[in-house]
């Protein structure tokens, strides 16, 4: 409209408009980097320009980015990566032998001995072999075939790739994908983008966000009325909820998937982030194989891992992989084609993944430092998980399930009716209203629960437990104060 006014041309609309664009893209939302973050960036800009606010910095507790919150990288990993980046450093005596040995091995596998060369689309072969060995070791010797390993640009890339393969059909035959509520919004975004049908199954907040098979059954049979359910996604340890599934639960899910002929997608990126007493990470693959050939020969599955979380926190490297189980060979050929379009995953990320699956061993020079650093990160996270749960549960209007694993807390907030009404007035979802106010008043950026999904009439927010302990204590304190003020204001 104004375009024509500016150019004085006769009515000439754009080629790409809201009407002509892919309607699926309009349905894509990704709360973790959504409107509240844009507001946070705006506030940071204002602070930089000298604006006076009740706080001097914005604390971005919205995103699972450990380094952003001050967590230090693992020295050994960075040494090897530096050697890979600038191989002349292999002559530098300040680098330990075990780091040099790993760097040489990676470089040898790269075209022209450079991490700047493209790799095979599926990922560098010797790294896939190392990943397979890691999986075997982790899963008590159950074999892993390197041909079933696909390196990727973070786990997200692999997740979307598998969904692309799975989503098809029209109308009532359109693929339905079961995802947990609450879920990590990459899933809902990818499903919207692909035009798949999202099938919600609710985690049980009253029972530490556990997964019930009855609920899975309910969701599935309801979905069968209007789509063709083919996939079941599960995040373990959970995001945003932090629950670590019991072995029994995992078995039940596998049994359910077999009975109902569903493809299992097991998002296990937080597999090292397990804190609570009595909780343990059980890989879906391990449980599957321990259930015997009736299951291990038939259930089709993909499990995902990443270099962004756990104790490494190397989000910026975009490293990850998926292992596919029982995939039809012809489908695998299509999968290779699919991953080839973007050529290959970032080679530094592949190199980093190689180190994650092949860390210093007890007899190696870097072992002691490595273990010290790894333990420090994981125990700090465990402590912060405990602290968060403890403090939030002392705040009236906030209830918090134990943070058994992962990096987040997803507390439930009780909002006064007046606040809910005010939110509606402003055209905001109530928990977005709450989070926006918190951001404006305290400079703390969280993600409203509505971004992850929640039961109707309940409100939550997701906060990371990543800030350093002292800062986290301050954040928890400020949220408590805000909660009390907010409740008071709208009482």
């Amino acid at each position: 409209m104004s375009q024509q006014a500016v150019n004085g041309v006769s009515h000439r609309g754009r080629v790409l408009t809201l009407d002509s664009m892919n309607p699926n893209v309009k349905r894509v939302e990704y709360a973790v980097r959504g409107p509240i973050v844009q507001r946070a960036v705006q506030i940071e800009k204002e602070l930089k320009e000298g604006a006076k606010k009740p706080f001097t910095e914005v604390i971005k507790a919205n995103i699972g980015d450990a380094h952003a919150m001050g967590q230090k990288p693992i020295t050994f990993f960075r040494q090897v990566l530096a050697l890979c980046s600038y191989p002349a450093l292999l002559e530098d005596s300040k680098f330990p032998e075990d780091a040099k040995q790993r760097a040489r091995r990676v470089l040898e596998a790269c075209g022209g001995h450079s991490i700047g060369a493209y790799s095979a689309s599926q990922g560098i072969e010797c790294i896939r072999q190392d990943v397979a060995r890691y999986i075997e070791k982790r899963d008590g010797g159950i074999p892993s075939n390197p041909d079933n390993i696909y390196l990727s640009t973070g786990a997200s890339d692999a997740i979307v790739t598998i969904l692309k393969l799975l989503v098809c059909g029209e109308g009532r035959d359109r693929t339905g994908v079961m995802i947990s509520i609450p879920q990590y919004p990459l899933y809902s975004a990818a499903l919207a983008d692909l035009g798949a049908v999202q099938i919600n199954y609710y985690l049980d907040e009253d029972n530490c966000w556990s997964l019930n098979i009855t609920e899975l059954r309910r969701a599935l049979s309801a979905a069968r009325e209007h789509c063709n359910p083919r996939v079941l996604c599960i995040i373990n340890p959970g995001n945003p909820t932090g629950q670590v599934q019991s072995r029994q639960c995992i078995e039940d899910v596998i049994r359910f998937a077999k009975e109902e002929h569903l493809f299992l997608m097991a998002d296990e990126v937080y597999q090292d982030n397990v804190y609570a007493e009595g909780c343990q990470f059980h890989s879906f693959k391990k449980v599957l194989f321990e259930m015997g050939p009736e299951y291990s020969n038939t259930v089709e599955m993909a499990s995902f891992h990443s270099t962004s979380k756990c104790y490494m926190g190397e989000c910026g490297f975009r490293g990850g992989y998926m292992e596919v189980i029982n995939l039809d060979p012809e489908v695998k050929a299509q999968l290779i084609k699919l991953v080839s379009v973007r050529l290959c995953p970032p080679v530094p990320g592949q190199a980093l993944l190689d180190l994650v699956v092949n860390p210093p061993q007890p007899d190696e020079p870097s072992y002691a430092t490595f273990m010290k650093e790894r333990t420090a990160v994981l125990s700090a996270l465990a402590e912060k998980a405990r602290l968060t749960e403890q403090i939030f549960n002392t705040v009236p209007g906030i209830t918090c399930n134990p943070v058994q694993g992962a990096m987040y807390t997803f507390p439930r907030i009780t909002l006064p009716q007046k606040a809910i009404d005010k939110a509606k007035e402003l055209g905001l979802v109530p928990d977005m209203f709450y989070c926006m106010r918190l951001l404006d008043e305290e400079g703390i950026c969280l993600v409203p629960g509505s971004g992850f999904g929640q039961r109707e009439g309940t409100y939550h927010f997701r906060m990371t437990i990543l800030p350093p302990t002292e800062k986290l204590k301050v954040v928890l304190q400020k949220i408590r104060e805000f909660q009390l003020r907010f409740t008071q204001e709208f009482s």
Partner: protein, 495 residues
């Protein structure tokens, strides 16, 4: 148009070959791999400055190492200062690290003679194909009937075509004119657009300049014609300018020339620095954005354009780092919001790649400790490319049954094979495309890994091969020696 897939045939042949090479007598020790536009794989070295900075960013204790030049250490410190939490391991903002985006916009502005580039229109992604996929995703309406169409050149590198078909759109081919040095003729665009009637609804026109696989550089006249055509037919312009970094170096050296003249008054040195980096004598790369802007209204305000670039090509050749960017021009602001969300679900681009991109757009300057080495390395690469281009043209055109127009730009040679009926028949018997047959034989007997023209599209009844020319001098000589020898034998066997 023939359905195209991956060249699994050749890949399998290569794998088999590598296994076989252990112990089987062959007239060569190593395969020369020029299948992809991968400088490092072909033997070219990375730029020292870039790698030193990246190493220091990855392992910050190196910032205090006296083994690294001062400007490297300072630069690493600057780059880390822009990373959240001072680490390359943290996520960046969705479009990329803001200062790097800003730097890229300044770079584009310099390249385009001062025409402003707006940072909010730039997105960094893990390689150019990633952003091409994202933009195509926004353009292609899967529910539309008739289906969305995208005009693509023939020949064309196959990744984009795969993206188009995977999204459920129709790729509508327009043929570049091989006889006219792969010129893009508007009449052919017209014909292609007409051919889409009743088949699909063309909404976009994909152009590759400089070309891939064919090494042409569009003339300014051609660029203007294409823009006008896109405007008339209401087509969204998708311009793949990935290979243009070479000519950006031209602009870089132009700038340096002025500095040199000012600082040292050494004109001959300055002239040495500024030479035509795009190889053709009368070639100069013209960016579509610049052309659109200089055309003035109504084009400048209305032609919707996405231009794609990458750190994989040009002098750095850092394919493995995965960094590219797209600049969006004249897009509807409401649509831009959705594009932002689409990019955001992929988190962000690898940070090392972003930094490499920044180092390329803002390299060492005269007077900096690393400048001389940097300049020397760039010159070496440029010399190699100019030499390769000449040699390939010379050798290929001297062989019977082989021809090649001058390579004006880009990183590949795409010579034409004039295969005999006998050879074509043999290929048919083996169930292979004739040029795939040639390439497979060339790989097995000659030890040179090239790509068959069939993969990229070509006029029916014509055959080509594609190979990367950014290869060290001695390797190129060996390549051409093996190619000539193999070709003569092959032509004789099938005469």
């Amino acid at each position: 148009m023939a359905a195209r897939g991956l060249d699994l045939i050749l890949h399998r042949a290569q794998v088999k070959l590598c296994d076989k090479l252990q112990g089987v007598r062959r007239p060569y020790k190593e395969v020369i791999d020029v299948f992809q536009g991968d400088l490092h794989r072909a033997g070219m070295k990375p730029l020292t400055f870039v790698r030193q900075v990246l190493a220091a960013c990855v392992y910050p204790p190196l910032i205090n190492s006296s083994n690294l030049p001062l400007d490297v250490r300072q630069r690493a410190q600057e780059e880390l200062g822009r990373c959240v939490g001072g680490s390359v391991g943290s996520y960046s903002a969705t479009p990329g690290i803001p200062e790097i985006i800003h730097s890229i916009s300044e770079f584009i502005k310099r390249r385009d003679g001062g025409i402003p580039s707006h940072p909010e229109n730039i997105y960094i992604s893990p390689g150019s194909q990633w952003s091409i996929s994202n933009i195509l995703n926004v353009l292609v309406n899967r529910e539309a009937s008739p289906r969305t169409g995208v005009l693509i050149p023939v020949p064309c590198h196959n990744k984009t075509v795969l993206s188009i078909t995977q999204l459920g759109a129709v790729a509508v081919p327009y043929y570049l004119s091989e006889e006219q040095g792969w010129a893009l003729q508007v009449e052919e665009l017209q014909r292609a657009h007409e051919s889409a009637k009743g088949v699909c609804n063309p909404v976009a026109l994909y152009v590759i300049n400089p070309g891939n696989p064919a090494g042409y550089v569009q003339s300014q006249k051609s660029v203007l014609e294409v823009i006008r055509f896109a405007w008339e037919k209401r087509l969204f312009l998708l311009v793949d300018e990935v290979k243009k970094l070479l000519s950006s170096m031209q602009a870089y050296f132009k700038n340096q020339m002025h500095l040199y003249k000012g600082t040292y008054g050494c004109l001959h040195v300055a002239l040495q620095l500024y030479q035509d980096c795009v190889y053709g004598e009368n070639c100069e790369f013209v960016s579509y954005k610049r052309a659109v802007s200089e055309m003035g209204p109504p084009f400048s305000g209305t032609v919707e354009l996405a231009s794609f670039h990458s750190v994989s090509k040009g002098f750095s050749g850092e394919c493995g780092l995965r960094a590219g960017y797209v600049e969006l021009v004249n897009l509807d602001p409401a649509v831009m919001k959705y594009i932002h969300t689409l990019f955001s679900k992929d988190a962000c681009s690898p940070v090392l790649g972003q930094i490499a991109l920044n180092l390329m757009t803002d390299p060492p300057k005269p007077g900096d400790p690393s400048y001389l080495l940097y300049k020397q390395e760039i010159e070496q690469i440029r010399t190699v490319l100019v030499h390769s281009v000449k040699k390939v043209h010379e050798v290929v055109n001297s062989l019977p049954g082989f021809s090649c127009p001058p390579i004006e730009g880009g990183l590949f040679a795409f010579p034409r094979l004039h295969l005999t009926p006998k050879a074509i028949q043999k290929a048919k018997e083996l169930g292979l495309q004739p040029d795939t047959f040639y390439c497979t034989r060339l790989l097995e007997e000659g030890g040179v890994f090239t790509g068959p023209g069939w993969e990229y599209g070509q006029k029916e009844g014509t055959y080509h091969i594609r190979f990367c020319i950014a290869v060290p001098q001695d390797v190129m000589e060996e390549l051409l020696r093996r190619l000539s020898s193999f070709h003569m034998t092959f032509m004789k066997d099938f005469s």
